[in-house]
């Protein structure tokens, strides 16, 4: 076999694996959507039903009778938006300082902040919980929002990398015109960094929307549940009914916005993943 045929075979093999594997990766999404349209008896059917007949659209209406979906959604959105605002604000400030201001101890401080990336969350979980108990914040959204206002290593790192690429001349010119640092930060750095800020926003939205452990620790009352907690609890709702098709409906409602967000901001997603993963 010549080189040419060899690469042909190689390419064919690559397409085959990527396509079959890719379809396999998507199958659970299809399974989820189809199960959310099933009647209870179709869930317990062998062989498995792939296309419910007829699709039971009522599931999407009925679930609202049993589960306060809007309340969970509102809670999730509130937490997500406030936490994201916080992390963008505090991380970009710190990143600006680390990227463009020169002062003694700067690099050491940056190393300190970055080192928390390696710190297992399990090591801090209990004292942080106790801190919030003492503050009387358990059972409120504060423990899920306030920490974000103190920055995060990944977002600071990511924004710092980006801020360093903005030409110094812009800043120097503004300095000559008498602009202060906060002003430069707000009127020059932030507007020029929309791409990087989008990445940070996307990462933070995704994290807060998907988060399970922190809400589980801090929000015990049903009124405060996020979608993730609500979905988890729905699995155990009792009352002699079978809830599985509603569980699937709610899971679909939780997955759909994330998938849509991916398609809307594909570049930001991919860049965010790659930038946070390439630190070698």
């Amino acid at each position: 076999m010549g080189i040419k045929q060899q690469t042909q075979v190689g390419r064919f093999f690559a397409y085959l694996v990527l396509t079959l594997g890719g379809l396999a990766m998507l199958t659970p999404f299809f399974w989820l959507a189809s199960s959310s349209l099933k009647a209870p008896h179709e869930i317990y059917r062998f062989p498995p039903v792939w296309i419910p007949d007829p699709p039971r659209w009522e599931n999407y209406v009925e679930v609202f009778q049993y589960v306060p979906v809007f309340r969970y959604l509102g809670n999730t959105v509130l937490i997500t938006v406030l936490a994201t605002t916080g992390i963008v604000f505090s991380s970009s400030l710190a990143a600006y300082s680390f990227a463009r201001l020169r002062f003694r101890g700067r690099d050491a401080m940056f190393a300190v902040i970055l080192s928390t990336l390696m710190l297992p969350f399990a090591a801090t979980m209990i004292p942080v919980y106790i801190l919030f108990v003492k503050l009387g914040w358990v059972g409120t959204f504060a423990p899920l929002i306030v920490p974000s206002w103190f920055g995060g290593p990944i977002t600071i790192f990511l924004l710092r990398q980006f801020f360093r690429t903005i030409p110094m001349e812009l800043e120097d010119a503004a300095r000559i015109d008498g602009a202060s640092r906060p002003r430069i930060f707000l009127t020059i750095i932030l507007p020029l960094s929309r791409a990087a800020l989008t990445v940070v926003v996307v990462l933070s939205l995704l994290h807060n929307w998907n988060d399970f452990m922190a809400p589980l620790i801090y929000l015990q009352k049903r009124d405060l549940y996020t979608l993730a907690l609500g979905l988890n609890a729905l699995q155990y709702l009792e009352g002699g009914r079978d809830w599985t098709h509603y569980v699937m409906v709610m899971a679909t409602m939780m997955v759909t916005p994330v998938v849509v967000a991916y398609f809307l901001a594909q570049r930001a997603f991919v860049e965010g993943i790659v930038l946070t993963g390439l630190k070698g």
């Binding site: 390419r11 690559a14 710190a94 201001l101 690099d107 300190v112 090591a123 939780m254 994330v258």
Partner: protein
């Protein structure tokens, strides 16, 4: 700091002022102001808690009454706690299965994607999409997809007359099933490896081809070493992450914080799950802190060990990059 002039080596008449002599007060002032939130965050949510959890690990503390100093008793109790041993066993099994399979599979897929594939965007999307799915939703999907009687995974096995495992109820299958579920989300790592592989300079391959290197030689001597720093970083991140598996196991096997079992025969009793149960189910915060510290030390040692070993196998293009 590359701006520092080295005294004595310069022939120049006046040595440049040192880095910090050229600093302006104004920059220093704002520099510190801007990092105050991040530094406070470091103190309140990282350094403080790590130290506090060490102190707590020598106490018995239920939050309601004051902590009581009990010395090493928590640690002594750990050694004789069968469930703690069990949780280590479960976690190590998971780490040993998940980390290598995730890294190897992701790298292989990334290699395939790196061959100028047409429609790469579609493939990237297909493979990446599962990794954005919330952990609760993923657990819910797989609980039913892996259902031994009605699930679509066992369907083809049954049709072909193969044994159909009880994925999430047979203690021997639980860890492999959880690894399988986590592998569904490997798209993340695939994208990182893809970017790394694509980032290797084409001139290296061209030079190798001139020397008559085949595909394997190119992979072994160029691609692998040039991406080794990223493989290394992913290895660390994955090890740290899989030592702390929580969400998927909790959703699938735990009904409430104080539930006394995690799967049949505690086959899904992950380390952090057991820690969580002690802290938030039984309010044994001192005991749970001792567990946290053991985990912390183990992870730090492992990270250090990996960093130490990397000199042998990780290649950095520019030292101290």
């Amino acid at each position: 700091m590359q701006t520092t002039a080295v005294p004595g080596t310069a022939v120049r008449p006046a040595p440049k002022p040192r880095f910090w002599q050229r600093l302006s007060f104004e920059e220093t002032f704002w520099g510190w102001i801007f990092i105050i939130p991040a530094l406070l965050g470091f103190l309140f949510f990282h350094l403080g808690p790590v130290v506090a959890s060490l102190a707590l690990s020598f106490t018995s503390y239920d939050i309601i009454s004051a902590p009581r100093w009990i010395g090493l008793a928590n640690y002594q109790k750990l050694v004789t706690d069968d469930l703690w041993i069990r949780s280590i066993e479960v976690t190590l099994r998971y780490v040993a299965l998940f980390v290598p399979s995730a890294l190897i599979a992701s790298y292989a897929i990334a290699m395939l994607m790196a061959r100028n594939i047409r429609g790469i965007n579609i493939y990237r999307t297909m493979w990446y999409l599962p990794s954005v799915v919330p952990v609760v939703a993923s657990a819910v999907i797989w609980r039913w997809a892996l259902h031994p009687e009605f699930g679509p995974v066992n369907y083809p096995l049954k049709v072909m007359g193969l044994p159909s495992p009880r994925w999430l109820t047979d203690p021997n299958w639980i860890i492999p099933s959880l690894v399988f579920i986590s592998l569904w989300g490997l798209g993340n790592t695939v994208l990182i490896f893809l970017a790394a592989i694509k980032g290797v300079s084409p001139s290296l391959y061209e030079a190798a081809e001139v020397d008559g290197a085949g595909p394997w030689a190119k992979f072994r001597n160029i691609t692998l070493p040039m991406t080794s720093s990223i493989i290394f970083f992913q290895l660390i991140i994955n090890v740290i992450g899989s030592f702390q598996v929580f969400g998927v196991a909790y959703v699938l096997f735990v009904t409430q914080p104080s539930a006394s079992s995690a799967g049949p025969n505690n086959a899904a009793l992950f380390y952090v799950l057991y820690m969580f149960r002690n802290a938030f189910g039984y309010f044994r915060n001192g005991y749970a802190s001792a567990m946290a510290w053991v985990l912390f030390v183990v992870i730090m040692l492992l990270t250090w060990l990996l960093f130490y070993s990397q000199r042998k196998w990780v290649y950095y293009e520019t030292e101290g990059k």
